[in-house]
């Protein structure tokens, strides 16, 4: 069984989305449910080896409108530093500095403070050698190959005009040098194969899928008329299971808004099955242990449903 935790927030959110404090509550609740343990510090110390350099792969394509929220990274950083990790060992990253800046992140490549930079930063770049799996041959960002030890994937739940779903696996397109080559056939099996490139597979351990605000159509860019609010985050160590739950939520939101399922608009999310076939995770609903919890503005938790 792969465990997937969905934490929803029932309190009122500002136009900007969740605050770091609200995310902190959701993450705290989520990690406890995911591991079945109650001490958040110990949970993180168990999950992440001591002295690890920790990456946070953001998704900044939609700029400030609908990128990985800065507040989410702030909350996660707070938890990690509380657990004893040096803040300079935390790296918020994306393909380019421009994308990070446009999404509201403050760049920092210095030897103090939380680091935040793109692969295009001087001295970073891509691996010298190609990594190959199946139909994918790519250089992988040195942030993954050489710099971080443990990566946390922080995608945003979105519709994707070609792939159907943009979530955790799709976000790893931002870790390779040639993502534009892999959009044929609804990104299948490329989406799966990219996440199975050795350094990505070895270091990408945790997915926290932001589904506070969902681009349920017209993605992956920002189209305001197709935004709906789910007010949730999805956490799992199984990237395929996390995306499978994300897909279920996306399809339901599309239905709620009178749109057909993705299969009917020629955007079936085939790559999840391909990912399952190569052992990246599970899509079978019977093999996914979903725990859904709703927390209110006072921090009270109630067991809930996906919808």
């Amino acid at each position: 069984m792969s465990k997937v935790v969905v934490v929803k927030y029932s309190g009122k959110l500002s136009k900007q989305g969740c605050t770091p404090e609200q995310y902190l509550r959701m993450l705290s609740c989520g990690f406890k449910l995911l591991t079945g343990k109650s001490n958040l510090v110990k949970i993180l110390q168990t999950m992440i080896p001591a002295n690890s350099v920790i990456g946070m792969k953001t998704n900044c394509l939609a700029r400030r409108h609908n990128s990985t929220p800065v507040a989410l990274t702030q909350a996660l950083t707070n938890i990690l530093t509380e657990a004893g990790f040096d803040e300079n060992d935390i790296i918020i990253w994306e393909r380019t500095n421009r994308e990070l800046s446009q999404a509201g992140f403050t760049l920092n490549a210095a030897s103090h403070g939380i680091r935040c930079f793109g692969t295009d930063t001087n001295g970073v770049g891509y691996s010298r050698d190609f990594y190959t799996f199946g139909d994918v041959n790519s250089l992988v960002t040195r942030i993954i190959t050489d710099i971080v030890d443990y990566n946390i994937n922080l995608p945003v739940l979105k519709d994707h005009s070609i792939a159907g779903l943009s979530a955790g696996l799709k976000n790893m397109y931002g870790a390779i040098n040639n993502p534009n080559k892999y959009h044929d056939n609804n990104c299948d099996p490329f989406c799966a194969h990219i996440s199975n490139l050795r350094p990505i597979k070895e270091k990408n351990h945790l997915t926290i899928l932001d589904a506070i605000k969902v681009q349920y159509h017209g993605g992956p860019g920002y189209v305001s008329k197709y935004i709906d609010y789910y007010h949730g985050i999805i956490i799992s160590t199984d990237p395929v299971a996390a995306d499978t739950v994300g897909l279920k939520i996306l399809q339901q939101i599309r239905k709620n808004n009178g749109l057909p399922v993705l299969e009917k608009v020629e955007r079936p999310v085939k790559y999840l099955k391909s990912a399952e076939q190569i052992g990246l995770g599970v899509t079978d609903w019977n093999k996914i242990d979903i725990r859904t919890v709703t927390i209110d503005k006072h921090g009270s938790e109630t067991i809930g449903e996906l919808f």
């Binding site: 394509l61 939609a62 700029r63 380019t96 500095n97 421009r98 295009d120 001087n122 770049g125 891509y126 190609f130 190959t132 041959n137 005009s161 070609i162 040098n177 040639n178 993502p179 534009n180 080559k181 959009h183 017209g218 993605g219 992956p220 860019g221 920002y222 189209v223």
Partner: protein, 380 residues
């Protein structure tokens, strides 16, 4: 900036290789220094692309190559150099070459186009296919923010040629179709100043953009990578049929055409394929189109294969001659007799070459100096 630093800035194997025969331009190098500044993020161009249409709801469809990428906001096409921003499609590489050299025209190779002259050769990042044997993959398979680019306005490119007395500009190394707008504008300016333009391409382009471009060009060399669709699908990640159609179009529209076929061991080197190729060329293009068989060296994703055996190249040469092709050449085999041009009527050597060098020309205008037979091409 010295030559070594320039090459580092270009960051391209092809450019490094090419630079051994290159003079560099201080007026261009002045622009390169800016591109190498440590802290500056790469600045990309934002020139509206040609040949695309807006889709009904959102997104655009690129119409420059047969791939017809449908691209939504802030995404790019397969080439990685064209981006949709609010449903306007932009080329990000206009005026931003990442490789620039002076090459012998024979290096393109164009053997029937002003032999012994040079060409200012330039490329931007990006390509609309992904050949597993690509020699220039460091630039062709990169996005423009991953290469070191330097600003070079079309007029400056042409003026450099005028000042340096370089007769031709070659759009080469990566795939010029993906920097179509830049190439078109340089070629147009070049025409006004008497500078020729040649496109070194895979030919994976739509009919209309090619039709509009050809009047600006003086010659086209097409890499016909195979004569089998399967090879295009699996090794090139493209399609054969549109390339064949474009070859016919180039010939029909009267632009000088030469063909290169890279012979890759075990993948496109059978006698049946050479025969099929020769017959197709003879039938649809004529027997006087120069056809170059080029030797493969292990590169990029095909490092597991050996270099093409000379014997295989010679087999291709013999088959094409037997099928009636009049101008067949072997490339990447310096010193081979099949580097030279022979008069198909009297057999005399009309252009003797070694490597990229022209050693001797026995032509009166475009006629064999021995028997007066017309040699097709643009010679003077």
């Amino acid at each position: 900036m010295d030559r070594r630093l320039f090459l580092r800035c270009i960051g391209c194997t092809a450019a490094v290789a090419a630079a051994t025969q290159t003079e560099l331009f201080p007026e261009i190098l002045g622009g390169i220094q800016n591109a190498c500044a440590f802290d500056s993020p790469p600045q990309l161009a934002s020139v509206e692309a040609r040949y695309y249409k807006k889709l009904d709801e959102h997104g655009i469809e690129c119409e420059i190559c047969p791939r017809h990428c449908q691209v939504t906001d802030l995404e790019r096409g397969f080439c990685g150099t064209r981006e949709n921003r609010d449903d306007t499609y932009y080329t990000l590489v206009y005026g931003l070459p990442c490789a620039l050299n002076i090459d012998p025209i024979e290096k393109k190779p164009l053997f029937h186009f002003y032999p012994g002259t040079t060409a200012l050769s330039l490329a931007t990042a990006g390509c609309n296919v992904n050949c597993k044997f690509c020699q220039n993959w460091e630039i062709s398979q990169s996005r423009p923010e991953q290469t070191n680019n330097f600003p070079l306005d079309p007029r400056d490119a042409v003026n450099t040629c005028v000042v340096r007395k370089i007769p031709t500009i070659a759009y080469t190394y990566s795939e010029p179709v993906i920097f179509y707008e830049y190439m078109y504008d340089i070629a147009r300016h070049g025409q006004k100043k008497g500078i020729h333009s040649v496109m070194i391409t895979g030919g994976y382009i739509e009919e209309k953009p090619l039709h509009d471009l050809l009047p600006q060009l003086d010659a086209v060399k097409v890499d016909l990578k195979a004569i089998r669709e399967e090879y295009y699908r699996t090794i090139v990640h493209g399609e054969l049929k549109p390339v064949l159609d474009r070859l016919i179009q180039i010939k029909k529209e009267g632009t000088w055409l030469e063909i290169v076929y890279l012979v890759v061991p075990t993948l496109n080197d059978s006698e049946a394929e050479f025969t099929e190729l020769a017959r197709w060329i003879k039938t649809y293009l004529g027997n006087d189109v120069p056809t170059h068989f080029s030797r493969f060296y292990p590169q990029y994703l095909l490092k597991n294969l050996p270099p093409t055996p000379l014997k295989t190249l010679e087999t291709a040469y013999q088959i094409c001659q037997a099928e009636g092709l009049e101008y067949v050449y072997l490339g990447n085999v310096p010193g081979h007799k099949a580097e030279s041009t022979y008069c198909p009527k009297c057999g005399a050597v009309v252009i003797k070459r070694r490597g990229y060098r022209v050693l001797q020309t026995n032509l009166n205008g475009n006629r064999c100096s021995k028997c007066n037979h017309i040699i097709p091409g643009i010679f003077s």
